[in-house]
């Protein structure tokens, strides 16, 4: 609750949350808002092919005569589904790896961190690309591959935080009274690391959405779905030479919109849970006072401060 109140005071974070809300609403109410069904077969008249925006089609039509605005609304569903599902799976894997590696240390830690190092040096997009190219295009395949490869940053972050948390007094005391290791990890370490995990996961969702969009743009998206990446692939292949900007630009800006929203939320959360230094020595004294003065009022029940740098 304290975190929520602090978040409400971050203008950037609130802007991001509002922006995300628009996309979520578009995804949920797509069938109600969309003037046309983008999955329906259409037989378009020649003048309805790549038609510029008009009252009937506020964002024009694509190369098959379908309404771009309706596709845009339905595309939000794919992006959000991929982003949230894949990131949640990554979050669970990354947190588990980070907690186990950080808490137990020793050989387990070494092995797990080598796996992380390994995944970090393999070029990500080419790897996802060849796997999907060989395995076949499909929504759940894309989600699976992105999820199974995308947990490395979370694991590193959680491990670093676990290393510092496990030195704290109450952890040592819990161990002294005979609490089991899994219990300590789940009941005492995880709650301390959770805020960082959430902040990182929000940023991960943005990265996942971008990865899916890039993959679809390169022609490996789920061919049965209307997604922003697929739209951009079609638009790039068939509409760019005909200057059909109404088909090309909206899906691109939609991706930018949702990923920016998540980045704004994620960085604001990060600032709250991982407070950095508030001033430095090259400021002149006047400005330094101005920066330091507005001390946020302390919450009644201060949470355990998470100070250590990840």
């Amino acid at each position: 609750m304290n975190y929520l109140r602090q978040f409400a005071r971050k203008p950037m974070g609130m802007i991001g949350a509002a922006m995300l809300l628009v996309v979520v609403a578009a995804a949920i109410f797509a069938p109600l808002i969309a003037p046309y069904d983008p999955y329906a077969r259409v037989r378009a008249a020649p003048d309805q092919i790549l038609a510029p925006p008009s009252p009937q089609h506020i964002l024009g039509t694509d190369d098959a005569g379908k309404d771009v605005f309706s596709q845009l609304l339905y595309g939000a569903r794919v992006s959000l589904l991929v982003g949230f599902t894949a990131s949640l799976v990554s979050m669970v894997i990354g947190s588990a790896v980070g907690l186990v590696a950080g808490y137990y240390g020793g050989k387990v830690d070494t092995v797990l961190m080598r796996v992380v190092d390994f995944l970090l040096v393999i070029p990500y997009l080419p790897l996802v690309l060849v796997i999907i190219a060989v395995w076949g295009r499909g929504l759940w395949k894309i989600i699976f591959v992105i999820a199974i490869l995308g947990w490395t940053f979370t694991a590193r972050l959680v491990r670093a935080q676990t290393l510092s948390v496990k030195q704290r007094q109450y952890i040592l005391r819990a161990r002294a009274i005979g609490a089991s290791n899994p219990r300590i990890i789940l009941r005492h370490v995880l709650p301390q690391v959770m805020p960082l995990i959430v902040a990182q996961t929000v940023l991960d969702i943005s990265a996942t959405i971008l990865a899916e969009a890039s993959l679809s743009f390169l022609g490996l998206g789920d061919p049965t779905l209307v997604s922003w990446g697929n739209m951009l692939n079609f638009a790039f292949e068939r509409a760019i030479s005909r200057q059909a900007w109404w088909f090309l630009l909206p899906p691109g800006f939609a991706i930018l919109w949702v990923s920016l929203a998540l980045i704004l939320i994620g960085t604001s959360l990060e600032e709250i849970v991982n407070p950095r230094i508030r001033s430095h020595h090259l400021f002149d004294a006047r400005r330094m006072v101005a920066l330091v003065l507005p001390v946020p009022p302390r919450p009644v029940n201060p949470p355990e401060p998470v100070k250590e740098d990840a």
């Binding site: 990500y124 997009l125 190219a133 060989v134 890039s214 390169l218 980045i263 704004l264 230094i277 090259l282």
Partner: protein, 337 residues
Amino acid sequence: MTRTGYLPRKLLFALVTLGIVITFNFVLFRVLPGDPVKMLFRNPRLTQEAQERIRVQFGLDKPMFLDTEALLNGDLGAAFDSQFTAYLRNLAQGNLGVSFANRQDVGELLRERVWRTVLLVFSGELLAIFLGMAVGLLAAWKRGTRIDAAALILGLLAWALPTFFLGIILLLLARGVLPAGGMVTPGYAQPGTLAYWLDVAKHLILPATTLAIVNASGYMLIMRSSTVEILAEDYILTAKAKGLSNLRILRDHALKNAMLPMVTLIALTLGYTVGGAIQVETVFSWPGIGRLVYDSVAKQDYPVLQGAFLLLAVSVILANLLADILYSALDPRVRLG
């Protein structure tokens, strides 16, 4: 903790990683559904005889990894005579197979194109490092001012932008001013002449800028935050007390210490840069490895995909090793630790 030295440890890691990548590459393209001979040659008129010959030539009649029967009989030579060893042998000889699409040797195809991708990635990366460090340093110094806010907002925007979409936007914006795609104007100049290279440079501007902007955002944000932390250190206060000018403090004290996290970050993001290069080459029809990957995906040209992935992965692994060596030269502490 093992007490092996820093560099031998990194070298070993790179070797193991290479081994895993090569094995993965072998396995991935062997689990393709269907008969590998039909997949590899896609020629319905192939006679039974010809199929058999190909099977023997590529060792497909042999077990995938290990002939366990031969191993149990103690015949080691036969035990390791498998598809995998045949693949390794071919790889060692630079034989990466033949493209489905145009029957060209994959190794040759890659060799012909690799320098173009190197040129693009290198110039984009250089521009990104310069841009990211300069803006990040400035933003940290002017922290809390409008300059800082502007730099932050631009940085977040560039971070949120899909690489390919930034390319498309720049392509539309520069229409008519700069060439829209390709690497040279066809029939404009003889390869090797000055006019030719100037033409290449003109074609390089948009793709390199796209790559640079996307990468610079990450560098800028990290540079800014690490400089902010460094500027709060006591030795900066000491330097200021000595009466050094702000510029001097930034150059001699802040920049040097902020270099270390930058080297790590550049190495760490190299894999993503390669991914960005694929997108940028696709948008601008830059005839490098990335565009080749895009075209091969569309044509399901598996041998080319396999070779290109191997080349990209190996380059990134080697570049990381290089960064580790550089890092130990920059920071003597890691050699001891």
